[in-house]
């Protein structure tokens, strides 16, 4: 166990605990706030693993934008402030499938990477290295993704027009 091991394990435990609360809490607003904790802890894990740019993009886009959008949706759908009892379906089928997927993936990863260790020094890349890769080898997918963002923007505007769905 090194310092990086301890940091990743601690932040990962925070992320998993907060994610457990996201999928089990009975308060709609608190689910969104626990999501902030989970995503922030994941940004910390990225920092420890040497992915600085992705960590800050995670903080900006996920914690800054996506969670705010989700909380706006919670408010716009007039969600109750207190605890709600009708948020969940029957638990055991979901527990069976979700738990099965989680345990299977854990078994797979533990079997594949059991005692392998990696040196972290020298793997860290600042924005410069990522930018060189992004605008060098990956420039075509980058441009295609900008078209996809435009399509999603237009689609969201068309879907949320108030006259959609009215009887002609």
């Amino acid at each position: 166990m090194t310092v990086a091991d301890g940091l990743v394990a601690g932040l990962g435990a925070v992320a998993v605990g907060a994610a457990t609360l996201v999928v089990t809490t009975r308060h709609l607003v608190r689910a969104g706030l626990w999501l902030v904790v989970a995503l922030g802890a994941l940004a910390g894990v990225y920092l420890v693993l040497g992915a600085e740019l992705v960590a800050w993009v995670q903080v900006l886009i996920y914690v800054g934008a996506v969670v705010v959008l989700l909380l706006f949706a919670v408010m716009l759908t007039r969600a109750p402030i207190g605890p709600s009892d009708d948020l969940d379906r029957r638990r055991w089928p979901a527990l069976l499938i979700g738990g099965g997927a989680g345990v299977a993936l854990v078994a797979l990863f533990v079997d594949a990477y059991r005692w392998s260790t990696v040196e972290l020094s020298g793997t860290a890349a600042g924005a410069e290295g990522i930018g060189a890769q992004l605008f060098g080898a990956w420039v075509l997918p980058f441009e295609v993704i900008s078209v996809l963002l435009l399509a999603a923007l237009v689609g969201a505007i068309v879907v949320s027009r108030p006259d959609v769905g009215e009887s002609p």
């Binding site: 689910a31 740019l53 089928p93 997927a101 533990v110």
Partner: protein, 105 residues
């Protein structure tokens, strides 16, 4: 030095939790939150693979993680537009109320 298995196990647990949330939640907004958890688990696998695997192109995993973040932002925008439009039409965000046969309930 780091044991590569720790972030991989965290990602696997997050994916399992997200899948449980997608299946168990009835509220469409909470369902989207669980989808975000699954996407973040995939991102963690990509970042960890970027640090632990020596690839021909350096930092491909981080570039892919950035792409996944952009895709998740597009997904959440369109998804919330659909959820809000459904709420406007039916006055509910429960996924049980969505008619799957194309008819009007």
């Amino acid at each position: 030095m780091i044991h590569a298995v720790i972030p991989y196990v965290v990602a696997a647990l997050l994916f399992g939790l997200g899948m449980y949330g997608v299946l168990v939640r009835r509220n469409a907004v909470l369902l989207l939150m669980a989808v975000e958890l699954m996407l973040n688990a995939v991102n963690l696998v990509l970042i960890t693979a970027d640090t632990t695997v020596k690839a021909a192109l350096p930092h491909g995993g981080q570039v892919f993680a950035l792409f996944v973040i952009v895709l998740a932002a597009a997904e959440i925008g369109v998804g919330l537009a659909i959820v809000l439009q459904f709420y406007r039409l039916r006055g509910s965000v429960a996924t049980d109320d969505v008619p799957l046969d194309g008819g009007t309930p």
